[in-house]
């Protein structure tokens, strides 16, 4: 038996390189044929023609959103798992994403987002915050993984039902069909409008959650030990909750609920990062960005007609993973 080795110094640069490559792929793949040279020209400025318009206004915002939303989900998944010391905690599974989608739906379809654009991310963040507070009340830190999952199932199905209800009541007849977007997520035809609406909130959220590395490491020794080391657990808790609500809420408001990213990525990276939750934060953000960007490229390559939703792909990868984790937990408990 060899002990857990620490691959941390290699993992982060490797993920960064892979992310750059996949972002390049994301700019090159699409229904319109735009050559490599034209793509580079379009990104470096140059005159505005059709090719550059496609790259700059269609594929670039989509790529940026894939990276930032993926990073958000990976980071918050790692943060929650570290804080709750529960490998199943994830924005999608515990209902944060579904509740954020419900909040966004309420502002979007009933005209509020038309009156002032920020209502859309604000609605998403309000929904996310509500779900986190509910989760904490139902299955807070130290609660069993089982009670967390049960609470998550309840919140997810309740929020999904409310989303469906809201869409059925919405005045626009197309609304009822759009539940698929909100429950499974997509980046199809998103524009820079959506980048500007969500990115500022995501960045604030990253800073809040990303700065929790040391306290999360200390928490592995137990709450009391962390407090004696000088970390204020209440403040850690608050930063994690608000940071997640801001970033996941804003991400979901522009792209729908994309599941399983925050579950799979931290879990794959954990052994490589020497099981330190603090070190896992940055690598999970990069890994999440990589996963969503690749899924978004795959969605474009696989679809002939309207695109497959992103959440379908992430669930195809993530759900078997989730089952495997549950089996491992059972074996651990036995």
């Amino acid at each position: 038996m060899t002990g857990p080795r620490n691959y941390a110094p290699i993992v982060v640069p490797a993920l960064a390189v892979l992310l750059i490559i996949s972002a390049g792929l994301s700019l090159l793949v699409g229904p319109a044929a735009v050559g490599f040279g034209e793509t580079v020209d379009a990104l470096l400025g140059g005159e505005i023609d059709t090719a550059s318009l496609i790259i700059r206004e269609v594929r670039l915002p989509r790529t940026i959103l894939g990276i930032t939303i993926g990073a958000t989900l990976g980071l918050c998944g790692a943060g929650f798992q570290g804080y709750l010391r529960n490998p199943l905690a994830e924005p999608g599974i515990v209902g944060i994403s579904s509740a954020a989608a419900f909040g966004a739906v309420c502002t979007f379809y009933f005209g509020l987002a038309n009156l002032f654009a920020l209502a859309l991310p604000l609605g998403g963040m309000a929904g996310a915050l509500l779900a986190i507070l509910l989760i904490r009340a139902l299955a807070g830190a130290g609660g069993s993984p089982l009670s967390l999952i049960l609470a998550g199932i309840a919140i997810t199905s309740f929020a999904s039902a409310l989303t469906s209800l809201a869409l059925n009541l919405a005045p626009n007849p197309f609304a009822a069909l759009e539940i698929v977007f909100w429950l499974l997520g997509s980046l199809a035809d998103r524009s820079f409008d959506h980048v500007w609406l969500s990115l500022p909130f995501m960045i604030i959220g990253w800073v809040m959650v990303g700065s929790l590395g040391r306290p999360l490491d200390a928490l592995t020794l137990g709450q009391e030990a962390a407090e004696t080391l000088g970390y204020n657990i209440r403040s850690v808790n608050r930063r994690l909750i608000i940071g997640t609500a801001l970033s996941v809420g804003a991400a979901t408001a522009v792209a729908g609920a994309i599941g399983f990213v925050g579950l799979v990525v931290p879990h794959l990276l954990r052994p490589l990062m020497g099981h330190r939750p603090g070190a896992l934060l940055l690598s999970s953000a990069l890994g999440g960005a990589l996963m969503v960007t690749l899924a978004d490229v795959a969605v474009r390559l696989l679809s002939n007609g309207p695109e497959i939703k992103l959440g379908v792909l992430t669930a195809l990868v993530g759900a078997p993973f989730f089952l495997m984790l549950i089996l491992q937990q059972r074996r651990g408990a036995a």
């Binding site: 206004e57 269609v58 007609g305």
Partner: protein, 287 residues
Amino acid sequence: MRPRLIIRLFSVIAGCVLLTGAFASGDAAAKPRRIVSLNVCTDQILMMLVAPERILSVTYVATDPRASSLHEEAKRYYNNFGAAEEVLPLEPDLVLAGQYTTRAAVTLLKRLKYNVVELPVAYTLDGIRRNVRIIARAVSEEARGEQIIREFDAAVGQATSPAERANAPVAALYWANSYSSGLGTLADTVIQHAGFRSLSDSLGLKGAGYVPLESLLSSRPDLLVVGMMRPSEALAQQIFHHPALRQAFADHPRVTVPDRYWTCGTPFTARAITQLRALREEMEGRQ
């Protein structure tokens, strides 16, 4: 007991007399007088053809100005939702339905031996003429039908020849959710009849289909014909606000043709042709 029996007897006799009368005086008296329509397309053609007192019911869709050109007229009648249960109490002597809509009601009504006439979908201008004739025959208003068709012919005029169209501007039909109507659809027939070249020709799009925003941008049509916007928001309509679309067509004409002119092929489809033909002549004059 006894008076009732007498009344029944009388009504049977009266019925027989009326029936013989109807046969004796031929078609004129056999005209259906209790007509129910279950489809917004049959609704409109029916209201054009017959006097209001012969119509019992048209659909609720016919009262929607987006879908129907006779939305005010449609409010005069009971507006049905296409259910057999609504039709039966009306005791219609003619039911008009679309070939692909309200299938459950149509099946039931046919089984109960109601007189049901189903209208095929009109994908062409000839299809519109055929449909007017089908309903005109069903309601025994052939002469009125032919008159409507003559007016329609005068309004739509002759199609431009392929040679004339060779240098015509290219029009792209773009609906919610990035859908377009390709070759073989009524909307495509209309823009070609109005003298435009159709984007679906170069894209090889047949029937209704998804056209990604990138494909629309790279094919650079001269005119964007977009679906009607609803005031309430939906993701389906966000494509029309996309910055890439706005920039690419900033100096292009963008036109909305009211959905009611071509959701159904009716004589009102001529208005879409007139509107688009005028626009094309204006665009060609500017060149």
